[in-house]
Symmetry: C2
Subunit: 596 residues, 2 copies
């Protein structure tokens, strides 16, 4: 059933050596006490919890799935899920990065993010239960009234209650402007909410005492489209003023979806029949309020695929060292054995290194973004906050899309290392592939992410945010431009930076005349920028590794080898992507729909 | 649950307009009578059978899977599979391209191949039961004694009996030289065979009266490695001389694998405990005999993914025309509806056209190869037979690997068109993705195919076979070099042809010094050559479409549009692949295994 060992060494490398988070956090009064020792302790404990408690439930959870009692509408998650959640709550994990005002530990997101990677490596389906909760926490924390905060946040922070996001309806997912669920105002200030929602992750289960649904619906007088959507909090059990749970609210699970993967998570159709809810934020401004949650969720989805990439890599590596098959083309390597371990074969190494490079690149990049969010939220200097916010806005769609596409590639390569055994459930690899597939879809499909990046974050902004990030890349290129040892990284990075600039301008010009040019270029464009970001971080990591490689710690040789592989084998994808992005809309739009 | 409609128009285009098979078959006495009318009739009937009988069992078969009775060792396939097989046999489908001497209809493979595409579109898991049979038929037809042929072939041709290939053991798949199953000679000329096999597709079921296992095992005095492997026929029931079935032979299914996909097919662990078998061909030459079967099977696996690509495309297209979501970026297209159908969006079109282009490219290419096999087997001119055989040898690993990689890409894109619904089982799209994943693995992983192409078929042959195929491409380029309307296709095709030549020479030189250079380059190299082949066929198809597009049949506009998309969006992958293939083995081999 495989293994999962938290990659503590690499996480520490990223946090302490690459990003120097201790230093960065010192500048934020809220996090000034978060030193390296504390961070490492959290990571170590997180590694134990995830590998010992969550990982053993991953495969069994996939095989068993969730069960709905059609009479009571109660959902039972797979065996062990509830007990693991109890341990999770008792250990205080839900509160790690939550506000101390509501019982949180107040640790920075950049630390919690690494823990979240571990949880997803160990068990994505399980992690979605508390993951969704955290989104509800953030949304209420930002937009709730003081009373709502006082009522809900302590319970969400402690983990006694969990949360969900109820957005999608059967006829609308991407296009939320079409949604139909209705909210009727009541005399007491509450609302009666009716309608049907689908694809509600962790929508119903018995792991927590109460489930706090955040629901999008329309007020009676609401304008059509996205400007007429409001956000409501609709608890499964109506809370009493003292925080105890009261009457059952008529928001029921009508069915559980049968899915390709994440079987351990209950993906529910939710029916509301005059369920009681309360408005969050302003009327008709529900999408704005929801965006807080969605941006956090997009980072979270990237972390899901990063987790899967890491665990798939680890297992494929163990298999590749163990499995004996054929001899090396350059001569026998293990004469004492009936055949050589398959890690001697160049193409097996290509598969392994693809997963390894995507794991390490994704870890560096996503930790960087998490740190920027900490700055955005907690840095005392407004300019720093603003700059961090701009970067987070620019990079969030890349996190969501690039990490999840890469997770699909990496888990599939890791499966392939196993040959026929990769296709067999008991080895566990095929589950990683199946689980990873949803990450390219939910929280905004990867196409939507690419339109968000190219259309909204780059072109509507006249490229300002991209130029700011590009200036960081450029500064690194200039700092290291005369270092011969760095040339193998700096030259292609500088070249790609120039190409991104030219490509952006070219598409911008074309889009001015034909908006379909944005839609035609967006997906390859996002991957080009994603590779520029990874190339930048791999170059920075290589610089550290070059400086430290002679110190005896083989970790740095490994890091250098991965960086070199990345530049040799993965970065060349940009040669394809740039051609695709430049090829324009003509070949896509020429045919009438009936000629397809 | 979706739809499947056999793509008769495109099949007819490929067979009659592109390949002109009627003309080609006239040159082969065995097939001289196979005219267009007959071919179209077979295709039409095939379309009805596959869409009406097989397709309705595809999703239910996936959900139900196969069941093993652990006491009797009998396996029950999903509901309806047995009845469909009865109809298949009664309609005479098993015999289409079999030898008339044994009851076959003697039709060319190029016709049967199109039918096989349809079967796989409709139901890959079901199709593997008769598919494996056909492999056993071909192996016995080529290597059996006259008595073996007389006993087994009529039953396999009629479909009363089915067959399997028993190669893999738990410790060896790719590396068959390590296999351990043993065959003890008996006084009566038979053998007692013992051992365990895994991953035996269609290994046990109740659909046919008898199952004829072709089993690889070692004779007592056999040399080690691949030179000590012999092939045996091991029937489930020992046949009586009159063709009736006799005693149960101790070759039993011990377990059914739980797999990622193809759930409707019984993937069995087979245990042999002194099962009675008979040698096929020469002692210790079993792998040679098996290769007949494996080459046919490799073409067959390519057709599996082609079938999945087609059906996934068809369904995604229906959905994209039906699903309303957002407005076109260039203005409202369906003002009478709440939103535009998603086929207005450029990136949805990119996904659809990717699947469409891979389906049409794969259909042209695989039909061409099937016709070459007909020539190899039945052309009266020995030189033509030899040339066809060389082409088949060169192109078979490309069929297997390029079509199955593309099937994975295409089915995943088709799933993505559905958004969240693509992940839900009832829509059927996720099954196509799961089913397609095995095709990149079995019958020799795609890595093994790429080594076969680059190592054995190209370099060991000093590039002769590749040059011969390249000369055809070159001739087409020269014929059309002055046709301005063709320039958009001819220019990139000619350019890629040159690049393939240079790339091959470069790798050849490097491989001379370091054999790992072959393993490092093989996978991207195969895809480069695959794209050259597709570009050649798309250019040829575009030429026909350009000539006929003004005749009023919109099919030709569609074909031209697909060809233009292929050149604009898919062919640019070669820019990446060539860089990867040229990047060499250094970045793969640098790290010690313990530094991964």
């Amino acid at each position: 059933m495989g293994q999962y060992i938290a990659p503590l060494r690499d996480m520490q490398f990223v946090l302490h050596e690459l990003l120097q988070v201790e230093e960065e956090l010192k500048a934020m009064p809220k996090h000034a006490e978060t030193n390296r020792e504390l961070i490492d302790q959290v990571l170590e404990e997180g590694g134990k919890f995830t590998s010992q408690i969550l990982f053993p439930l991953n495969h069994s959870g996939d095989r068993e799935g969730c069960h709905l009692d059609k009479v009571t509408h109660e959902v039972t998650p797979p065996k062990g899920f509830k007990a693991a959640y109890k341990q999770y709550v008792e250990a205080g994990w839900p509160s790690v990065s939550c506000d101390p005002e509501f019982g949180g530990q107040g640790l920075p997101l950049v630390v919690n993010n690494s823990f979240y990677e571990m949880m997803n490596s160990a068990n994505q389906a399980w992690t979605m239960y508390p993951g969704l909760s955290h989104g509800a926490y953030e949304c209420l924390h930002e937009h709730g009234t003081p009373e709502q905060k006082a009522l809900y946040l302590p319970k969400l922070v402690s983990g006694e209650w969990t949360g969900t996001m109820c957005l999608t309806e059967s006829h609308c997912g991407t296009d939320l402007g079409m949604l139909r669920s209705k909210a009727e105002p009541q005399a007491d200030g509450s609302f009666k909410i009716s309608g049907g929602k689908i694809f509600i992750s962790a929508g119903e289960h018995d792991m927590s005492e109460n489930i706090i649904h955040l629901v999008l619906a329309r007020l009676p007088d609401a304008p059509a489209g996205t400007k007429g959507i409001s956000l409501f909090v609709v608890p499964k059990f109506l809370p009493n003023a003292d925080g105890s749970v009261g009457a059952r609210n008529p928001i029921f699970c009508g069915a559980i979806e049968e899915k390709m993967g994440i079987h351990g998570n209950s993906t529910c159709q939710m029916n509301m029949d005059e369920a009681t809810g309360w408005l969050i934020g302003q009327p008709n401004k529900g999408l704005n309020a929801m965006f807080v949650m969605m941006n956090a969720a997009r980072l979270g989805v990237g972390m899901q695929s990063l987790g899967l990439t890491e665990v798939a890599f680890q297992n494929a590596l163990v298999y590749a060292k163990d499995r004996l098959q054929m001899r090396s083309l350059t001569g026998v390597k293990a004469p004492e054995k009936a055949a050589d371990p398959i890690i001697v074969h160049p193409d097996v190494r290509r598969m392994l290194l693809t997963a390894k490079a995507y794991a390490e690149g994704g870890r560096a990049f996503s930790s960087y973004v998490a740190l920027q969010i900490d700055k955005e939220l907690n840095h005392p200097d407004e300019d720093v906050r603003k700059e961090a916010a701009d970067e987070v806005a620019l990079l969030t769609p890349i996190i969501k899309s690039f990490l999840t596409d890469n997770g699909w590639i990496a888990t599939s390569e890791a499966l392939q290392v196993y040959g026929g055994h990769g296709f067999i459930a008991e080895w566990g690899m095929e589950q990683y592939v199946r689980d990873s597939r949803i990450n390219m879809i939910y929280e905004g499909t990867n196409t939507i992410q690419s339109l968000d990046l190219l259309g909204r974050k780059v072109l509507m902004d006249n490229g300002a945010k991209l130029r700011k990030f590009g200036a960081k890349v450029q500064a690194f290129v200039e700092e290291n431009g005369t270092d011969e040892a760095m040339a193998e990284f700096i030259t292609p990075l500088a070249d790609l930076g120039d190409k991104v600039t030219k490509l952006t301008m070219e598409i911008g010009m074309k889009a001015f005349q034909n908006p379909d040019e944005v839609g035609a270029a967006a997906v390859p464009y996002l991957r080009v920028v994603g590779h520029m970001v990874y190339a930048y971080f791999f170059a920075r990591m290589a610089k550290i590794a070059l400086e430290k490689q002679d110190g005896g710690d083989k970790f740095y040789q490994s890091k250098l080898g991965t960086a070199r592989f990345y530049f040799a084998r993965l970065l060349p994808e940009t040669a394809m992507l740039i051609r695709q992005a430049r090829s324009g809309s003509a070949s896509l739009m020429a045919l009438d729909a009936d000629l397809f």
